[in-house]
Protein backbone atom coordinates (compact mmCIF):
# COMPACT_ATOMS: atom_id res chain seq x y z
CA UNK A 1 0.00 0.00 0.00
CA UNK A 2 1.38 3.40 -0.89
CA UNK A 3 0.63 6.70 0.74
CA UNK A 4 0.56 9.93 -1.12
CA UNK A 5 2.41 12.57 0.85
CA UNK A 6 3.22 16.13 0.13
CA UNK A 7 5.71 18.52 1.70
CA UNK A 8 4.43 20.75 4.46
CA UNK A 9 5.79 24.25 4.98
CA UNK A 10 6.00 25.48 8.55
CA UNK A 11 6.81 29.01 9.59
CA UNK A 12 8.93 29.47 12.70
CA UNK A 13 9.19 32.91 14.28
CA UNK A 14 9.81 35.81 14.23
CA UNK A 15 7.94 36.04 17.53
CA UNK A 16 8.78 32.72 19.08
CA UNK A 17 10.26 31.99 22.52
CA UNK A 18 13.13 29.97 21.11
CA UNK A 19 14.24 32.17 18.24
CA UNK A 20 16.60 34.21 20.45
CA UNK A 21 15.12 37.47 19.31
CA UNK A 22 13.35 38.07 16.04
CA UNK A 23 14.56 35.35 13.76
CA UNK A 24 12.27 33.67 11.28
CA UNK A 25 12.67 30.62 9.13
CA UNK A 26 10.53 28.68 6.73
CA UNK A 27 10.90 24.93 7.06
CA UNK A 28 9.65 22.49 4.45
CA UNK A 29 8.96 19.14 6.03
CA UNK A 30 8.55 15.61 4.81
CA UNK A 31 6.99 14.01 7.85
CA UNK A 32 9.42 14.92 10.60
CA UNK A 33 12.42 15.43 8.35
CA UNK A 34 13.42 18.89 7.18
CA UNK A 35 13.76 19.05 3.41
CA UNK A 36 14.43 22.73 2.95
CA UNK A 37 15.10 25.61 5.30
CA UNK A 38 15.11 29.26 4.56
CA UNK A 39 16.24 31.71 7.22
CA UNK A 40 14.71 35.20 7.02
CA UNK A 41 16.49 38.17 8.55
CA UNK A 42 15.99 41.88 8.91
CA UNK A 43 13.43 42.30 11.69
CA UNK A 44 16.00 44.14 13.80
CA UNK A 45 17.77 45.99 10.99
CA UNK A 46 18.50 49.54 12.13
CA UNK A 47 20.93 50.56 9.41
CA UNK A 48 23.85 50.91 11.80
CA UNK A 49 26.53 50.91 9.13
CA UNK A 50 24.80 53.85 7.43
CA UNK A 51 24.15 55.61 10.72
CA UNK A 52 27.83 55.29 11.64
CA UNK A 53 28.77 57.46 8.66
CA UNK A 54 27.03 60.46 10.22
CA UNK A 55 28.41 60.07 13.75
CA UNK A 56 31.91 60.80 15.03
CA UNK A 57 34.33 58.02 15.88
CA UNK A 58 33.57 58.40 19.59
CA UNK A 59 29.80 58.60 19.14
CA UNK A 60 29.86 55.29 17.27
CA UNK A 61 30.84 53.41 20.43
CA UNK A 62 27.22 53.53 21.59
CA UNK A 63 26.13 51.87 18.35
CA UNK A 64 28.40 48.92 19.01
CA UNK A 65 26.65 48.41 22.37
CA UNK A 66 23.43 47.82 20.51
CA UNK A 67 24.78 45.18 18.14
CA UNK A 68 25.25 42.09 20.24
CA UNK A 69 23.41 43.24 23.33
CA UNK A 70 24.40 40.11 25.24
CA UNK A 71 28.05 41.00 24.76
CA UNK A 72 28.33 44.78 24.48
CA UNK A 73 31.70 44.96 26.19
CA UNK A 74 33.41 42.87 23.52
CA UNK A 75 31.76 44.92 20.76
CA UNK A 76 33.14 48.06 22.41
CA UNK A 77 36.53 46.41 22.57
CA UNK A 78 36.59 45.43 18.89
CA UNK A 79 35.56 48.89 17.76
CA UNK A 80 37.97 50.90 19.90
CA UNK A 81 41.01 48.82 19.00
CA UNK A 82 40.18 49.28 15.31
CA UNK A 83 39.95 53.07 15.67
CA UNK A 84 43.17 53.06 17.69
CA UNK A 85 44.84 51.09 14.91
CA UNK A 86 43.50 53.49 12.29
CA UNK A 87 44.52 56.65 14.13
CA UNK A 88 47.65 55.31 15.83
CA UNK A 89 46.44 55.96 19.39
CA UNK A 90 48.39 54.45 22.28
CA UNK A 91 46.55 52.82 25.18
CA UNK A 92 47.84 52.79 28.78
CA UNK A 93 48.76 49.38 30.14
CA UNK A 94 46.25 49.49 32.97
CA UNK A 95 43.43 50.17 30.51
CA UNK A 96 44.49 47.15 28.43
CA UNK A 97 44.37 44.90 31.49
CA UNK A 98 40.96 46.19 32.48
CA UNK A 99 39.73 45.66 28.91
CA UNK A 100 40.87 42.06 29.05
CA UNK A 101 39.10 41.52 32.38
CA UNK A 102 35.88 43.06 31.04
CA UNK A 103 35.99 41.10 27.79
CA UNK A 104 36.52 37.81 29.57
CA UNK A 105 33.71 38.54 32.05
CA UNK A 106 31.54 39.31 29.04
CA UNK A 107 32.53 36.06 27.39
CA UNK A 108 31.49 34.11 30.48
CA UNK A 109 28.17 35.99 30.66
CA UNK A 110 27.50 35.41 26.96
CA UNK A 111 28.41 31.70 27.12
CA UNK A 112 26.17 31.26 30.17
CA UNK A 113 23.29 32.59 28.09
CA UNK A 114 24.29 30.47 25.08
CA UNK A 115 24.37 27.27 27.12
CA UNK A 116 21.28 28.15 29.13
CA UNK A 117 19.12 28.99 26.15
CA UNK A 118 20.32 25.95 24.25
CA UNK A 119 19.19 23.74 27.13
CA UNK A 120 15.92 25.63 27.15
CA UNK A 121 15.46 24.90 23.43
CA UNK A 122 16.11 21.26 24.20
CA UNK A 123 13.29 21.09 26.69
CA UNK A 124 15.24 21.43 29.96
CA UNK A 125 12.79 24.15 30.57
CA UNK A 126 13.89 27.16 32.60
CA UNK A 127 15.66 25.46 35.53
CA UNK A 128 19.20 25.39 34.08
CA UNK A 129 18.61 28.75 32.43
CA UNK A 130 17.65 30.30 35.74
CA UNK A 131 20.91 29.15 37.31
CA UNK A 132 22.80 30.64 34.38
CA UNK A 133 20.94 33.91 34.86
CA UNK A 134 21.89 33.85 38.54
CA UNK A 135 25.60 33.70 37.70
CA UNK A 136 25.32 36.24 34.88
CA UNK A 137 23.64 38.61 37.30
CA UNK A 138 26.82 38.74 39.40
CA UNK A 139 28.80 39.70 36.31
CA UNK A 140 26.28 42.40 35.41
CA UNK A 141 26.60 43.75 38.95
CA UNK A 142 30.32 44.15 38.36
CA UNK A 143 29.69 46.00 35.10
CA UNK A 144 27.19 48.24 36.82
CA UNK A 145 29.83 49.00 39.40
CA UNK A 146 32.30 50.29 36.79
CA UNK A 147 30.03 52.14 34.39
CA UNK A 148 26.52 52.29 35.83
CA UNK A 149 24.98 50.18 33.08
CA UNK A 150 23.83 46.61 32.94
CA UNK A 151 23.45 46.01 29.19
CA UNK A 152 24.72 48.89 27.07
CA UNK A 153 27.96 49.81 28.75
CA UNK A 154 29.63 52.38 26.49
CA UNK A 155 32.61 51.75 28.77
CA UNK A 156 35.59 51.66 26.46
CA UNK A 157 36.93 54.82 24.89
CA UNK A 158 39.34 55.48 22.08
CA UNK A 159 42.64 55.41 23.94
CA UNK A 160 41.34 53.95 27.16
CA UNK A 161 38.24 53.66 29.33
CA UNK A 162 35.53 55.96 30.61
CA UNK A 163 36.08 55.22 34.31
CA UNK A 164 38.72 53.58 36.45
CA UNK A 165 37.73 50.62 38.64
CA UNK A 166 36.02 51.66 41.86
CA UNK A 167 37.56 50.49 45.13
CA UNK A 168 35.03 47.75 45.74
CA UNK A 169 35.47 46.21 42.29
CA UNK A 170 38.54 44.04 42.76
CA UNK A 171 37.33 42.34 46.00
CA UNK A 172 33.95 41.64 44.37
CA UNK A 173 35.64 40.28 41.25
CA UNK A 174 37.92 38.12 43.39
CA UNK A 175 34.90 36.69 45.14
CA UNK A 176 33.26 35.91 41.80
CA UNK A 177 36.25 34.18 40.24
CA UNK A 178 36.76 32.14 43.40
CA UNK A 179 33.23 30.81 43.26
CA UNK A 180 32.75 30.54 39.50
CA UNK A 181 34.79 27.38 38.77
CA UNK A 182 32.78 25.56 41.45
CA UNK A 183 29.50 26.60 39.84
CA UNK A 184 30.68 25.58 36.40
CA UNK A 185 31.66 22.16 37.77
CA UNK A 186 28.29 21.85 39.44
CA UNK A 187 26.38 22.58 36.23
CA UNK A 188 28.64 20.31 34.33
CA UNK A 189 28.01 17.42 36.71
CA UNK A 190 24.30 18.00 36.46
CA UNK A 191 24.23 18.25 32.70
CA UNK A 192 27.23 16.82 30.88
CA UNK A 193 26.46 13.20 31.62
CA UNK A 194 22.71 13.58 31.62
CA UNK A 195 21.31 10.89 29.36
CA UNK A 196 18.64 13.11 27.83
CA UNK A 197 21.13 15.84 27.06
CA UNK A 198 23.50 13.34 25.46
CA UNK A 199 20.72 11.83 23.37
CA UNK A 200 19.66 15.23 22.14
CA UNK A 201 23.14 16.57 21.33
CA UNK A 202 25.53 13.73 20.45
CA UNK A 203 25.93 13.23 16.70
CA UNK A 204 23.23 15.77 15.92
CA UNK A 205 23.87 18.86 13.82
CA UNK A 206 27.31 17.68 12.76
CA UNK A 207 29.43 20.31 11.07
CA UNK A 208 32.59 18.87 9.55
CA UNK A 209 35.92 20.64 9.80
CA UNK A 210 36.10 21.36 6.07
CA UNK A 211 32.56 22.61 5.91
CA UNK A 212 33.13 24.88 8.92
CA UNK A 213 36.12 26.52 7.21
CA UNK A 214 34.33 26.73 3.85
CA UNK A 215 31.34 28.42 5.46
CA UNK A 216 33.54 31.06 7.16
CA UNK A 217 32.12 30.24 10.60
CA UNK A 218 34.09 31.46 13.61
CA UNK A 219 34.29 31.16 17.36
CA UNK A 220 32.98 28.19 19.34
CA UNK A 221 31.23 26.82 16.23
CA UNK A 222 34.52 26.65 14.31
CA UNK A 223 36.41 25.29 17.29
CA UNK A 224 33.67 22.76 18.01
CA UNK A 225 34.46 21.34 14.57
CA UNK A 226 38.07 20.82 15.57
CA UNK A 227 39.79 23.92 14.20
CA UNK A 228 42.11 25.46 16.75
CA UNK A 229 41.60 29.08 15.70
CA UNK A 230 41.20 31.79 18.28
CA UNK A 231 42.11 35.40 17.53
CA UNK A 232 43.41 35.79 21.08
CA UNK A 233 46.13 33.28 20.15
CA UNK A 234 46.34 33.70 16.38
CA UNK A 235 46.57 37.48 16.38
CA UNK A 236 46.89 38.65 20.01
CA UNK A 237 45.48 42.08 20.82
CA UNK A 238 45.46 44.14 24.04
CA UNK A 239 47.67 42.11 26.42
CA UNK A 240 46.45 38.59 25.65
CA UNK A 241 49.96 37.44 24.76
CA UNK A 242 50.89 37.76 28.45
CA UNK A 243 48.44 35.17 29.75
CA UNK A 244 48.56 31.42 29.47
CA UNK A 245 45.33 29.72 28.48
CA UNK A 246 44.14 26.85 26.34
CA UNK A 247 41.94 26.92 23.26
CA UNK A 248 39.49 24.04 23.71
CA UNK A 249 38.32 22.28 20.55
CA UNK A 250 35.80 19.57 19.72
CA UNK A 251 36.36 16.46 17.64
CA UNK A 252 33.03 15.55 16.03
CA UNK A 253 31.54 18.97 15.41
CA UNK A 254 28.11 18.09 16.81
CA UNK A 255 25.95 20.11 19.17
CA UNK A 256 27.60 18.47 22.16
CA UNK A 257 31.06 19.60 21.06
CA UNK A 258 29.91 23.18 20.68
CA UNK A 259 28.37 22.96 24.15
CA UNK A 260 31.60 21.52 25.59
CA UNK A 261 33.77 24.18 23.94
CA UNK A 262 31.68 26.91 25.56
CA UNK A 263 31.84 25.32 29.00
CA UNK A 264 35.60 24.85 28.74
CA UNK A 265 36.04 28.41 27.51
CA UNK A 266 34.31 29.72 30.61
CA UNK A 267 36.94 27.91 32.70
CA UNK A 268 39.75 29.37 30.59
CA UNK A 269 38.24 32.86 30.86
CA UNK A 270 38.18 32.57 34.64
CA UNK A 271 41.84 31.66 34.55
CA UNK A 272 42.68 34.65 32.32
CA UNK A 273 40.82 37.00 34.69
CA UNK A 274 42.68 35.55 37.65
CA UNK A 275 46.04 36.19 35.96
CA UNK A 276 45.01 39.68 34.85
CA UNK A 277 43.86 40.74 38.33
CA UNK A 278 47.10 39.47 39.82
CA UNK A 279 49.23 41.50 37.40
CA UNK A 280 46.93 44.55 37.16
CA UNK A 281 49.28 47.55 36.99
CA UNK A 282 48.56 50.97 38.46
CA UNK A 283 48.50 54.09 36.36
CA UNK A 284 46.44 56.04 33.89
CA UNK A 285 43.38 54.58 32.20
CA UNK A 286 43.09 57.07 29.34
CA UNK A 287 45.58 58.74 27.03
CA UNK A 288 44.93 62.40 26.36
CA UNK A 289 43.45 62.29 22.88
CA UNK A 290 41.68 64.89 20.84
CA UNK A 291 37.96 64.68 21.31
CA UNK A 292 37.21 64.91 17.61
CA UNK A 293 39.54 62.41 16.09
CA UNK A 294 40.45 62.91 12.42
CA UNK A 295 42.45 59.86 11.34
CA UNK A 296 44.57 60.04 8.18
CA UNK A 297 42.79 58.88 5.03
CA UNK A 298 43.04 55.13 4.58
CA UNK A 299 41.40 51.90 5.61
CA UNK A 300 42.05 49.35 8.31
CA UNK A 301 40.61 46.20 9.80
CA UNK A 302 40.75 45.33 13.48
CA UNK A 303 39.40 42.19 15.10
CA UNK A 304 38.98 40.41 18.41
CA UNK A 305 37.73 37.03 19.52
CA UNK A 306 34.20 37.81 20.66
CA UNK A 307 32.07 35.26 22.52
CA UNK A 308 30.33 34.37 19.24
CA UNK A 309 33.42 34.39 17.07
CA UNK A 310 35.70 36.75 15.26
CA UNK A 311 34.22 40.21 15.61
CA UNK A 312 35.90 42.80 13.42
CA UNK A 313 35.45 46.29 12.10
CA UNK A 314 36.56 47.55 8.72
CA UNK A 315 36.93 51.32 8.78
CA UNK A 316 37.54 53.66 5.86
CA UNK A 317 38.64 57.18 6.75
CA UNK A 318 38.71 60.24 4.50
CA UNK A 319 40.38 62.46 7.08
CA UNK A 320 37.15 63.78 8.57
CA UNK A 321 35.67 63.36 12.02
CA UNK A 322 33.25 60.66 10.84
CA UNK A 323 34.12 57.35 9.26
CA UNK A 324 33.62 57.28 5.49
CA UNK A 325 32.53 53.68 5.77
CA UNK A 326 32.17 51.29 8.68
CA UNK A 327 31.64 47.61 8.07
CA UNK A 328 31.14 45.02 10.78
CA UNK A 329 32.41 41.50 10.38
CA UNK A 330 29.48 40.13 12.34
CA UNK A 331 30.13 36.57 13.51
CA UNK A 332 26.44 36.01 14.23
CA UNK A 333 25.40 36.63 10.62
CA UNK A 334 28.29 34.71 9.07
CA UNK A 335 27.83 31.75 11.43
CA UNK A 336 24.20 31.51 10.33
CA UNK A 337 25.38 30.71 6.78
CA UNK A 338 25.78 27.15 7.92
CA UNK A 339 22.29 26.84 9.41
CA UNK A 340 20.54 25.73 6.21
CA UNK A 341 23.09 22.99 5.61
CA UNK A 342 22.77 21.73 9.20
CA UNK A 343 18.98 21.75 9.14
CA UNK A 344 18.40 19.88 5.88
CA UNK A 345 17.98 16.23 6.75
CA UNK A 346 17.56 16.90 10.47
CA UNK A 347 14.39 16.20 12.45
CA UNK A 348 12.05 19.09 13.16
CA UNK A 349 12.46 18.51 16.90
CA UNK A 350 16.18 19.20 16.59
CA UNK A 351 15.81 22.37 14.52
CA UNK A 352 15.71 24.76 17.47
CA UNK A 353 18.55 22.99 19.29
CA UNK A 354 20.76 23.22 16.21
CA UNK A 355 19.90 26.89 15.92
CA UNK A 356 20.58 27.40 19.63
CA UNK A 357 23.95 25.67 19.38
CA UNK A 358 25.14 28.25 16.85
CA UNK A 359 24.39 30.96 19.42
CA UNK A 360 23.37 34.13 17.65
CA UNK A 361 22.15 37.49 18.81
CA UNK A 362 19.79 39.09 16.30
CA UNK A 363 20.99 42.57 17.18
CA UNK A 364 24.27 41.71 15.55
CA UNK A 365 22.85 39.66 12.68
CA UNK A 366 20.68 42.50 11.41
CA UNK A 367 22.56 45.51 12.81
Amino acid sequence: MTYQTEPLTVNVGPQHPSTHGVFRMGLTLDGEVIQEAEPVFGYLHRGMEKLAESLTYTQNIVLTDRMDYLASMTSNHAYVITVEKLAGVEVPERAEYIRVIMSELMRIASHLMAVGFMLNDMGAFMTPLLYMFREREKILDLFEMVCGQRLTYNYMRIGGLSHDLPEEFVPALQKLIDSLPGFIDEYDQLLARNEILLARTKNIGILSRDSAINNSVAGPVLRGSGVRWDIRKADPYSVYDRFSFDVPIGSVGDIYDRYRVRVEEMRESTSIIRQAVKELPAGEIQTATVKNLRPEAGDTYGHIEGPKGELGFYLVSNHSTQPYRLHVRAPCLINLTVLRELLIGAKIADAMVIFGSIDVCMGEVDR
Binding site: S211, G312, Y314, T337
Partner: protein, 147 residues
Amino acid sequence: MTKPASTKEIADSLEHKCPGAVVELSDKDIVVKTKSLLAVVAYLKNTPGLDFDYLNWMTAVDYTDHFLVTYNLTSLKNNISLVLKTRCDNRENPTVPSLVELWKGANLQEREIYDLMGIRFENHPNLKRIFLWEDFEGHPLRKDFIS
Protein backbone atom coordinates in the same frame (compact mmCIF):
# COMPACT_ATOMS: atom_id res chain seq x y z
CA MET B 1 50.47 37.29 15.07
CA THR B 2 48.47 37.08 11.86
CA LYS B 3 50.98 38.35 9.32
CA PRO B 4 49.82 40.38 6.35
CA ALA B 5 50.81 38.57 3.17
CA SER B 6 53.57 39.99 1.04
CA THR B 7 51.46 41.61 -1.66
CA LYS B 8 54.51 42.05 -3.91
CA GLU B 9 55.29 38.31 -3.96
CA ILE B 10 51.68 37.37 -4.53
CA ALA B 11 51.32 39.90 -7.34
CA ASP B 12 54.45 38.48 -8.98
CA SER B 13 53.16 34.93 -8.87
CA LEU B 14 49.77 36.11 -10.14
CA GLU B 15 51.50 37.72 -13.10
CA HIS B 16 52.59 34.23 -14.19
CA LYS B 17 49.30 32.55 -13.49
CA CYS B 18 46.79 35.20 -14.61
CA PRO B 19 48.69 37.83 -16.62
CA GLY B 20 47.24 41.30 -16.41
CA ALA B 21 44.98 40.49 -13.47
CA VAL B 22 46.62 42.88 -11.01
CA VAL B 23 45.55 46.48 -11.58
CA GLU B 24 46.96 48.18 -8.49
CA LEU B 25 49.34 47.12 -5.81
CA SER B 26 50.19 48.57 -2.42
CA ASP B 27 51.77 47.22 0.77
CA LYS B 28 48.34 46.54 2.21
CA ASP B 29 46.22 45.25 -0.64
CA ILE B 30 45.95 44.07 -4.21
CA VAL B 31 43.33 45.37 -6.63
CA VAL B 32 42.48 42.86 -9.35
CA LYS B 33 40.38 43.01 -12.50
CA THR B 34 36.79 41.93 -11.94
CA LYS B 35 37.09 39.61 -14.96
CA SER B 36 40.03 37.78 -13.40
CA LEU B 37 38.64 37.68 -9.85
CA LEU B 38 37.48 34.06 -9.87
CA ALA B 39 40.73 32.79 -11.36
CA VAL B 40 42.81 34.81 -8.90
CA VAL B 41 40.82 33.69 -5.89
CA ALA B 42 40.85 30.04 -6.96
CA TYR B 43 44.61 30.26 -7.40
CA LEU B 44 45.07 31.81 -3.94
CA LYS B 45 42.82 29.23 -2.37
CA ASN B 46 44.23 26.11 -3.98
CA THR B 47 47.93 26.79 -4.34
CA PRO B 48 50.04 24.95 -1.76
CA GLY B 49 52.19 27.43 0.13
CA LEU B 50 49.53 30.14 -0.12
CA ASP B 51 46.54 28.13 1.19
CA PHE B 52 44.07 30.97 1.62
CA ASP B 53 41.40 28.54 2.75
CA TYR B 54 39.18 30.92 4.74
CA LEU B 55 37.15 33.81 3.36
CA ASN B 56 37.20 35.90 6.50
CA TRP B 57 34.83 38.64 5.40
CA MET B 58 33.85 40.74 2.41
CA THR B 59 32.27 44.13 1.95
CA ALA B 60 31.89 46.97 -0.53
CA VAL B 61 32.68 50.67 -0.33
CA ASP B 62 31.09 53.38 -2.47
CA TYR B 63 33.67 55.94 -3.64
CA THR B 64 30.94 57.84 -5.58
CA ASP B 65 32.60 57.28 -8.99
CA HIS B 66 33.33 53.59 -8.40
CA PHE B 67 32.77 50.76 -5.95
CA LEU B 68 35.50 48.71 -4.36
CA VAL B 69 34.48 45.22 -3.31
CA THR B 70 36.89 44.13 -0.60
CA TYR B 71 37.73 40.57 0.40
CA ASN B 72 39.76 39.51 3.40
CA LEU B 73 41.25 36.08 2.80
CA THR B 74 42.97 34.24 5.61
CA SER B 75 45.13 31.18 5.63
CA LEU B 76 44.30 29.34 8.84
CA LYS B 77 47.22 27.01 8.16
CA ASN B 78 49.91 29.68 7.75
CA ASN B 79 48.22 32.44 9.81
CA ILE B 80 48.48 34.96 6.99
CA SER B 81 45.86 37.37 5.77
CA LEU B 82 45.44 39.19 2.48
CA VAL B 83 43.16 42.04 1.43
CA LEU B 84 41.98 41.68 -2.13
CA LYS B 85 39.89 44.33 -3.86
CA THR B 86 38.12 44.61 -7.14
CA ARG B 87 36.85 47.76 -8.79
CA CYS B 88 33.39 48.31 -10.26
CA ASP B 89 32.94 51.42 -12.41
CA ASN B 90 29.43 50.80 -13.66
CA ARG B 91 27.02 52.53 -11.26
CA GLU B 92 23.88 51.51 -13.11
CA ASN B 93 24.52 47.81 -13.02
CA PRO B 94 27.62 46.92 -11.03
CA THR B 95 28.38 43.23 -11.34
CA VAL B 96 30.99 41.04 -9.70
CA PRO B 97 31.32 37.24 -9.96
CA SER B 98 29.99 35.39 -6.93
CA LEU B 99 32.41 33.41 -4.78
CA VAL B 100 29.77 31.06 -3.39
CA GLU B 101 31.09 28.19 -5.49
CA LEU B 102 34.45 28.49 -3.78
CA TRP B 103 33.26 29.54 -0.34
CA LYS B 104 29.74 29.00 0.89
CA GLY B 105 30.60 31.61 3.52
CA ALA B 106 30.15 34.26 0.81
CA ASN B 107 26.44 33.48 0.48
CA LEU B 108 24.87 35.75 3.10
CA GLN B 109 27.59 38.39 2.82
CA GLU B 110 27.02 38.80 -0.92
CA ARG B 111 23.30 39.08 -0.29
CA GLU B 112 24.00 41.78 2.26
CA ILE B 113 26.14 43.74 -0.20
CA TYR B 114 23.51 43.32 -2.91
CA ASP B 115 20.81 44.54 -0.54
CA LEU B 116 22.60 47.58 0.89
CA MET B 117 25.01 48.55 -1.88
CA GLY B 118 23.25 47.25 -4.98
CA ILE B 119 26.09 45.23 -6.44
CA ARG B 120 24.96 42.12 -8.33
CA PHE B 121 26.83 38.87 -7.85
CA GLU B 122 26.81 36.72 -10.96
CA ASN B 123 25.90 33.07 -10.43
CA HIS B 124 24.84 33.57 -6.82
CA PRO B 125 22.38 30.77 -5.97
CA ASN B 126 19.84 32.96 -4.18
CA LEU B 127 20.54 36.63 -4.80
CA LYS B 128 17.81 38.58 -3.09
CA ARG B 129 17.55 41.23 -0.41
CA ILE B 130 18.51 40.01 3.04
CA PHE B 131 17.55 42.78 5.51
CA LEU B 132 15.19 45.05 3.59
CA TRP B 133 11.97 44.01 1.92
CA GLU B 134 11.81 43.06 -1.75
CA ASP B 135 10.11 46.22 -3.04
CA PHE B 136 12.34 48.61 -1.11
CA GLU B 137 13.66 51.29 -3.45
CA GLY B 138 17.36 52.04 -3.58
CA HIS B 139 20.41 50.76 -1.76
CA PRO B 140 21.01 52.63 1.52
CA LEU B 141 24.78 52.30 1.82
CA ARG B 142 25.34 54.12 -1.46
CA LYS B 143 26.53 57.66 -0.88
CA ASP B 144 23.79 59.13 -3.10
CA PHE B 145 20.99 57.46 -1.13
CA ILE B 146 18.82 60.09 0.51
CA SER B 147 17.07 58.74 3.57
